[in-house]
């Protein structure tokens, strides 16, 4: 402190002598050091008034007195400043916690894409912030491949915790209860029981029969996917009815079925894909089908990744929602 005191007096004295920009530059460098040493603004006021007293022994008594007043005002500024410093430390801590949590979540939700002779499957899910509130999950059981895609309304940590719950809930269902409408109905009850009022989850659940090449599915308020007909080279929406999860405990979900022909594609997604927001507003759903057309020569995994990259760029690298895109293609 003594060093700061004499340094301040020295710098002030040379400023008063030369009135030079150089002295003011040194004032700034001084300030930087004193902030680093956690010298608070009221201490700076006190340095200033003491320096004035020494430099001008005949200074008006009342001018010196005025610094008591200024000091009093600055004490509260000093406190606000210290408080913010301590909050900054907390913040760094929280940020590193979230990073760890995100990597745990990634481990927990890990699901491997089934490798099946007749099917080409690609999937990607990328969070807008650090933690993902979207979720997809593959299960192979008997002659079926189950595919779940879900999206919690809300993002970040709360959404991520919900997703872990949904995954465990699906995993604990016995095989006999895993047809789409059963799954949606059970998860709906779990969500009702466990989640707070005002939390909703949308979900798509499908079952691909590897032997008969039929796709059975149902959904709860989830963004509609696309079905690509190879013969006509055209898309249709995968239309489903069903309330979002967590609203009505007793809701019964409908179940649909499609016969999948060679070359056909099933495209599942979250609203983060279709609600990509560019400078001109939300994109049209046709942007997605155009991209699929454009990349349909690629493998399913290459397609989903390339489409993500294109949409990321369209949005100037600022993603507003978690992004999940899955493509299943029946090979010839």
């Amino acid at each position: 402190m003594e060093i700061f005191k004499s340094r301040y007096r020295h710098l002030l004295r040379s400023y008063l002598k030369e009135s030079s920009e150089k002295a003011l530059y040194q004032a700034q460098l001084f300030s930087r050091k004193s902030i680093l040493q956690q010298i608070s603004p009221e201490e700076i006021i006190s340095l200033h008034s003491e320096a004035l007293k020494e430099i001008f022994p005949d200074i008006q008594e009342e001018v010196l007195l005025s610094f008591d007043f200024l000091l009093e005002v600055m004490v509260d500024y000093g406190l606000a400043y210290q408080e913010h410093q301590s909050m900054r430390d907390q913040q760094f801590e929280i940020k590193s916690e979230i990073e760890i949590a995100a990597s745990i979540q990634e481990n927990l939700l890990e699901t491997s894409i089934p490798q099946i002779e007749d099917l080409d499957i690609g999937a990607t899910s990328i969070p807008a912030k650090q933690m993902n509130g979207d979720f997809y999950h593959f299960i192979q059981e008997g002659q079926s491949i189950h595919i779940a895609v879900a999206d919690v309304i809300g993002k970040g940590i709360p959404a991520a915790i919900c997703m872990s719950m949904i995954k465990y809930a699906i995993d604990s269902l016995p095989e006999s209860r895993k047809s789409p409408h059963f799954v949606l109905e059970s998860i709906n009850r779990v969500v009702e029981d466990n989640l707070e009022e005002g939390m909703f989850i949308t979900m798509f659940y499908g079952m691909y029969d590897k032997v008969n090449h039929s796709f059975t599915y149902g959904a709860a308020g989830h963004e509609q996917g696309f079905y690509y007909h190879s013969v006509t080279n055209s898309f249709e929406d995968i239309v489903t009815k069903g309330l979002v999860l967590g609203v009505d405990q007793n809701f019964t979900y409908e179940q649909y079925q499609k016969q999948v022909e060679p070359g056909d594609m099933i495209v599942l997604l979250s609203d983060g894909v279709t609600e990509a927001r560019t400078e001109e507003g939300f994109i049209e759903r046709s942007v997605i089908t155009d991209l699929i057309q454009k990349y349909k020569q690629l493998t399913a995994q290459e397609m989903v990744e390339q489409i993500y990259r294109d949409l990321e760029k369209m949005q100037n690298y600022e993603m507003n929602d978690d992004f999940t895109l899955i493509i299943l293609r029946r090979k010839v």
Binding site: E43, E72, V75, L79, E83, S86, M87
Partner: protein, 133 residues
């Protein structure tokens, strides 16, 4: 006792009286001007808390001696409803952002020692100490 004095806090102007008492003692103990201002701000905050939340109480000021140092002890006592969640009021950011001033975390920063007890039956007692360097 000569070493202890107090101010009853009933109206807003008693806050000023408590500040004055604290500043006088701080001056006598030869605290520097910055520390005088800090001690007074802490007293002000404690007295204002009593005035705003407890309705009435008192600020006691003591001169105390440590091993080889002297200090000022400021005690704020009230019979108000007590503080429900002490951990919460000791958290940063709530009082200042709402314009309520430094709050108790501020008082803790301004002083060297800080202790609080609060219960529904006995109200709140906050004891703080600052030592001369």
């Amino acid at each position: 006792m000569e070493n202890e004095s107090y101010v009853k806090i009933i109206s807003e102007w008693d806050i000023v009286a408590a500040r004055q008492l604290g500043r006088n003692v701080a001056k006598e103990l030869e605290f520097g001007t910055v520390d005088q201002a800090r001690i007074t701000t802490a007293i002000s905050e404690l007295a204002r808390n009593i005035y705003l939340y407890a309705g009435q109480g008192e600020i006691r000021i003591e001169r105390i001696n440590g091993r080889d140092k002297r200090g000022i002890k400021v005690i704020a006592a009230d019979n108000g409803p007590g503080i429900q969640d002490i951990r919460k009021v000791m958290e940063d950011g709530y009082s200042t952002s709402g314009g309520l001033g430094a709050g108790l975390p501020g008082v803790k920063r301004l002083m060297d020692e800080f202790d609080i007890t609060s219960s529904l039956e006995e109200g709140t007692i906050i004891k703080t100490v600052k030592w001369t360097r």
